[in-house]
């Protein structure tokens, strides 16, 4: 079961499944609003980042591996409206030390993303004994 951290609770994130793929849902609520009529870019970034992190946790599936975001680049493509938002991540490469992840957020349909991010994670695996 995926644990939602406190900041994820602020955004009210919850996991969904679409044909086995992990999808994260962020409902529309006051704590994610920005300028009048739109979502806040920071809330969208929080959704993207958690989705990437959670997808990576599932893919690695081992305890004791730390995942630290090293770089994140967010492209904002459309204004986020006052409706629910969804995100899915795709792991481009999972290496021993670095994982490269892309993640999209959308509202109406996945083909029209409101934002996209590329996040590179540093993986710290436990020392082999």
């Amino acid at each position: 079961m995926l644990a939602i951290p406190p900041y994820g609770e602020v955004l009210r994130l919850s996991p969904l499944r679409d044909e086995g793929r992990l999808r994260i849902h962020m409902p529309f609520h006051n704590d994610v609003t920005g300028r009048p009529g739109y979502l806040h870019g920071g809330a969208i970034a929080g959704l993207l980042e958690f989705t990437a992190f959670a997808t990576l946790v599932e893919a690695i599936g081992e305890d004791g591996i730390e995942m630290k975001p090293v770089t994140i680049t967010v492209d904002y493509m459309r204004g986020g409206l006052h409706v629910d938002t969804y995100a899915e991540a795709h792991i481009e490469r999972l290496g021993r030390r670095i994982a490269n992840v892309t993640v999209n957020a959308w509202q109406k349909e996945p083909e029209t993303p409101i934002a996209s991010a590329r996040i590179n994670f540093l993986l710290s695996r436990p020392e082999r004994s």
């Binding site: 609770e9 602020v10 009048p36 770089t71």
Partner: protein
Amino acid sequence: MKSPTSAEADALTRGDFDIERFVGLAGNFGHGKAVGYRYRDHGDNWVELELPSRPELVGVPEQNILASGAIFSLVDMCGGASVFQTMGLFEPIVTIDLRLDYLRPALLGDSVFARCECYKMTSRVAFVRGTAFLDEERQLANVTGTYMRRP
């Protein structure tokens, strides 16, 4: 304190330009209020904000690490504020892209500061660079972003 309504927020953007007042309002409304940033300081083309530490901002509970998403949120606001400050007026802007390089994590109990400057302004695009830090010696993240004017 009562949260401002959309109409009040809208009215502010038509009033006299005051970046401290604007940040105060944005920090008491919607996501800004949920994250809880505050105005610190500004210059001709830069703005500094503070994000006081709160348990709600934790992203990795096992190590009490603050969510990088919360820092991203602070920096997005700070970068946008530096664009308003440089323009000297409130006209609509949107973030085109924003990149953070995370140099070290912030822990629960740390107050996080962000300072962003708008180093180049064209008629359509504002270019921003900045930093998130704990103090002068401990930088958390390096920031690069672009914002579009009158989207």
